[in-house]
Assembly symmetry: C5
Homo-oligomer: 360 residues x 5
């Protein structure tokens, strides 16, 4: 979503979709995962188990016990599996469709017995030049959380570890607190992305002030697109968290809402920063243009100084290059050095004039 290059692929996908009845499970996305992993973590204040499941049916048991169960599914390209998850956990067909469509806007939706939210995780790609976007979907039910990632990644590792060692409130709270921890870790990642952008803009600004060059406008443009995409990722995420805070559902406890409010504070600050970067970047374009104008002025000055000095002098030389028979000056013995002197005076007057005009 962040990379406009992906756009072309999207076209075909939507082309395939058209005409399908609503509720048809079709995967829309670029991450095709062959071996989808299903991970089940169960815990309460005293107990903690962490296992890999082969089939989703094995998770059925966890619906009945009173532990918090976190079922993490890495890979959503296997639509059959998603369909089975839907049947076991009794999920609405439109919700399954949203999980599979990685082009979806972040949002939260409340159903009778569970809350669904979907949002984007951002990470710098390995060569650190592009921002990669991955869709995360969460389903919060009574005592269980389903999480769907596009591909296997280590972003949730700190949460796994925190649950394992029972640090902080992690294990004494219910499933809603787990949802909070998962969202929080994703939002923390956004700070790094924004700092990268801020640094890029800073560097570019210095370069442009130094010397306007042709490629820079394309860079300004590309940063602008990144910021626009980020805004389209973070703003609905803010709405999503706000939706969780306002939710009347009993699945989210009041003391957990304090924590969601904290996440919201962070998101407000991120949006704020992003807006600042956007303005800052927009300024760069003006600076670039004025830098171009400045350069043009510089070129024009050189041209004007040289032309203005030598054109009159050449005229004088031209005068005495005329072949009239009766030109008294030609035979004066000191005419030649006098002409040189006269030319020197003109030269100096010109120099003085340009100096006073502060042209150099």
């Amino acid at each position: 979503m962040i990379q406009p290059v992906k756009k072309k692929k999207k076209k075909k996908k939507y082309g395939n979709l058209k005409g399908l009845p609503p509720g048809s499970l079709v995967h829309i996305g670029n991450n095709i995962v062959e071996n989808v992993e299903i991970e089940l973590i169960e815990y309460n204040q005293t107990l903690h188990t962490e296992i890999q499941l082969d089939t989703i049916e094995e998770a059925t048991a966890c619906l009945e016990n009173k532990h918090v169960s976190w079922i993490n599914i890495n890979g959503i390209s296997d639509t059959k599996l998603i369909g089975e998850v839907g049947k076991i956990f009794n999920l609405h067909p439109l919700l399954l469709e949203d999980i599979l469509n990685t082009e979806h806007r972040p949002k939260t939706e409340e159903f009778e017995s569970y809350i669904f939210c979907t949002f984007k995780m951002l990470s710098k790609s390995e060569d650190s030049l592009e921002i990669e976007s991955e869709q995360i979907s969460l389903v919060l039910g009574t005592d269980f959380v389903l999480s769907f990632q596009e591909k296997k990644g280590d972003v949730f590792d700190p949460v796994r570890k925190r649950i394992k060692v029972g640090k902080g409130l992690s294990r004494s709270r219910k499933a809603d607190y787990l949802v909070y921890m998962l969202i929080d870790i994703v939002v923390d990642n956004y700070y790094e992305i924004l700092e990268d952008i801020s640094e890029k803009i800073e560097e570019l600004e210095e370069q442009i002030f130094d010397q306007a060059q042709e490629g820079q406008l394309a860079e300004v443009q590309s940063i602008k697109k990144t910021i626009t995409n980020l805004r389209r990722t973070i703003n609905p995420l803010k709405e999503m968290v706000s939706g969780l805070i306002k939710s009347p559902s009993t699945l989210i406890h009041d003391h957990t809402k304090d924590y969601f409010r904290d996440v919201q504070d962070h998101l407000i600050q991120l949006v704020d920063n992003l807006e600042t970067y956007r303005e800052w970047n927009a300024e760069l374009k003006d600076i670039y243009l004025s830098s171009l104008s400045n350069k043009m002025n510089q070129i024009m000055k050189v041209l004007t100084i040289i032309s203005t000095i030598f054109i009159p002098l050449t005229f004088i030389a031209g005068i005495y290059g005329m072949n009239f028979q009766y030109m008294p000056e030609l035979s004066y013995p000191y005419a030649y050095p006098l002409v040189w002197g006269f030319m020197l005076i003109i030269f100096l007057v010109m120099i003085y004039y340009f100096r006073r005009k502060k042209w150099f």
Copy 2:
């Protein structure tokens, strides 16, 4: 509506309208259909019939049975027919006027025993250069749906097929679900239009970065107009769907509203994308202008380099072209090569100066 060329025709139409009492049935539009087709599809979970009607009176029967009846009318230029439909289904005169006026803004309106909505369907014309807009009007009553198209088209074919084969929920639901399916298929079409625009902008951007040419601004301008028109089509459609969701009418069931909410999600995303394209396109203008400035700089540099090198040299040649009798240099044997050498030095100094200024 998408094509400004149509504007001139509109004028005359409105000229005809002025002074007519409200409720007068006058067709405003460019699609004059000679043989208006009336199609009646009746179905419930077990039954399915699909027939062509000759007169609208034949449809009266369907008001009494309990099947879902879909009456699709292809062509609205026959105002007499529309008037008859109005009488049979007891439609408000202002509603009939809205059906006939293809310049109308998308909207939904609730009446005592039915809900009316009108919106635009977009399609690429056959030569794929222009976007064609066609108005669709729907009337949702108890167990029946009236749909009005400007001309015969195949856009609703997937819905017809889905009803025929009884795929998904198509046949187990009531008339409100049929309305949803019809709106959904139109919204799906919008994605293709937007992807086309996105591609056009991308191509144009590459071209402008490559070399600014005179026709490009006109193209930017034309894309801008297309986007503006799309925004004027999609935004009120979003409001329309939102109106259907908020409707207190019992004609729309709660479980169907979930589907309308899904359509609304798509429309929000479309509006979002459109806004991004609008900004992106607006940037192109600035890039074009800065590209022009860059080109000017290039031209000026060439002029300045050539002038600045040769004007002083020409002056020197001019000096020794003077005809003074007493010019000692003229008779020095090595004067000529020395002058050449001097000129060479000036030339090299200039070249060095421009290099340092990074002019070439």
Copy 3:
């Protein structure tokens, strides 16, 4: 109000007003009508009379009968008459002030026993170059409508005719429907004005794309002012109609509100179109400026090509115009044609260079 030229006159008027106690009846406007006409049309479903009154007192009778009475007053410069109308129909002094002040913003105001609304009618002047604005004020009471026009005009003729022939609902409805018909006919006029503007912009755009000329910016500017003025006329009119729809007064029946809603739909579309024209027109300025830049580039190219070709050639000619005694080339028999050849080569190289740079 549409013509900034009128502004200067306004000053004096306001100068006169200052210091007058509120409620003083002073006419502010440019249309001084000598023979104010008072027209009385009375009708119900069976009856219809249409007479010219000499004095407003003659209209007193119509307050008592149960017919719909429409008293149309052409000309508001006679403040004494307006005062008398106020006394007979028991109108608030501030309302009379508003009727007389033709610079007033469109608005609706509800009083105990009547509803007041004031708005602008627009028409193209006879020479069709300027838009003329005339203020219309309406007072809707029980079974009567007072309408005030600045001067005699034929804009209400279709309404008169419709009442006369009893076409449509015109005569079966009450006074509120008459108010609707009067507002509707004025709004219909706006469409023509907007189509004119749209055409003007289109023409101007073609001209500017063809060739930027000095007067065009002034034209863009003038269209901008017209649009701004229209916006200031239509937007409050939309609010006015919205006020009538929301009015809790029993003077406006619910089934008439459907018609007002229809007018509002039209006004929303007009505002929408106007906004589009405004953006479109704003673009013209940028196109004009880029067109200027393009032209400058063109001029610079010609200058650069000519200079860059001939300055080096002139230098060569200058070299062999020097008068050194020892210049071996001068006596070579083929020197002259060789120099010509050398110059030709330089010329061709230059031409090739400019071709490759696509300068011509």
Copy 4:
């Protein structure tokens, strides 16, 4: 406040203020009045007295009788007096602070037994080049109005006169109507200020269209600042009047609110006009810039025409100025006139080319 020049003085004042406890009475403003005048006007429908008071204690009596008492204080630099007024009329310390601070934003505030409002009066200074701003504060209590002016002025004279002659409703209404009259007279003054601005912009526009000159941008800038300051004066005044209209206090009677609504209508129109002037003025900058570009084009054309014509001709002259021994043309008898002829042809071709390009 309107004049940025005053800003420097403000600094010192605020510097003095810092660290003072809230409620300390400090005068912030430029108008130091030596002899503060206290004027007491008492009236009801039958009675009218108008006297100058020496001390504010003399006004105590008016708190008990049932007449409307208007105490007008010209000059607020005497903080001791203001403190005494506060004690006698039982005013809140923060309110007194607001009266003394002439940099305050217009606002209204309701207290238990009185309503306070503060706003700006604008007037053209005597030399009519600058706009002078003076703060007016009003306190409306039961049967009395306190008004505070920065210095003695004649702006309230029409109100005094109207009360004296008992014209209109002036004397039959209560103190709230007096407040209305005072605000109304100030708002009336704004119209003149705005008309002045409108005229200035109009003149400047004509000048710029005529010829762009260097000082004009500074003028556009200065008008912009004036408009910004006016907006900051009028907008909160609109809110203030709106606050009075919405006030639940019994001090303002319902029939007086109609009059305040009338003032609000005027303020809405003023804000509207101001916005139009702001846009109009902003356009001037673009016109100025495009005018500069146009001029540059003009200059470039002259340079290019002259250069392009004479540079090739000079080259030809240079050719025949070469000193080769074997130049057959030199000895042809008609060579000289032929060269002239050739030059003439080049000249004419060039002229034709520029004509076709519409360069002159």
Copy 5:
């Protein structure tokens, strides 16, 4: 926060934070204070003590008596101390996190038994070139106020003094009034910062109107960033004060809310001024660009005047420098002075032409 230079450091800090469980106490900021000072001021209308505490435990006593206790902590880098404060005063872990994070947006939050607010204090650094930002956090409980400063400073000295001498209402009011005084003193500081900015813009404007120079755009840019940062500081502070005014908590008395409203008035004015400065500063960029254009025009004029005068003259000289054998003019005795005369005429015609065009 005001200085973009700090941004790079921030990165590392956030890097450290990532993965920590929420509620972990980590100090985010640049001010590391070695000797954290704890100051305790206790007072009521009759009593006043002021002591330095070594450990925060000593403050426990003040929770029980009925005096107002102000505990001021200078330095927040000692996370252990902050943790202890949290335990003694029973503060929420997220609140402690907010105190320690100096990058936090100003906000107020209500807890069961106390109100928390955090905001920025701005001060000019000693060399007066940069604006320093320090975070202040306040906790208002029953009869106590905790204040946290990043480092020891004298900004609260006036409040200390006012409490000591019992001036104004300082000692007769409760803890909420102390909070008001602390916020008020910080807001007063903002006025100075804004006046500095206003002066800087004014100076820069004069310089640019005088002569556009290359560094100025960078200065405009830097002022813009400062204003953006200020806006991000003041706007949420306004919301914070508004939150305190709307607070339903009994900790803030109604008569203190009047004072908070006064602070809010000041903040509205500050925001207003800031917006004005922002617009004003934005204008500077346009003035700078137009100034560049003007300068270019000036340069072009000089070039054009010199070229246009001398190029034709040089051509004439070139003509008579030709070596044709048959050039009758060459042997005319008065040819040379006649040519001079002819050149003079051309020169004068040119001068006249440029004069008429007002080029100099």
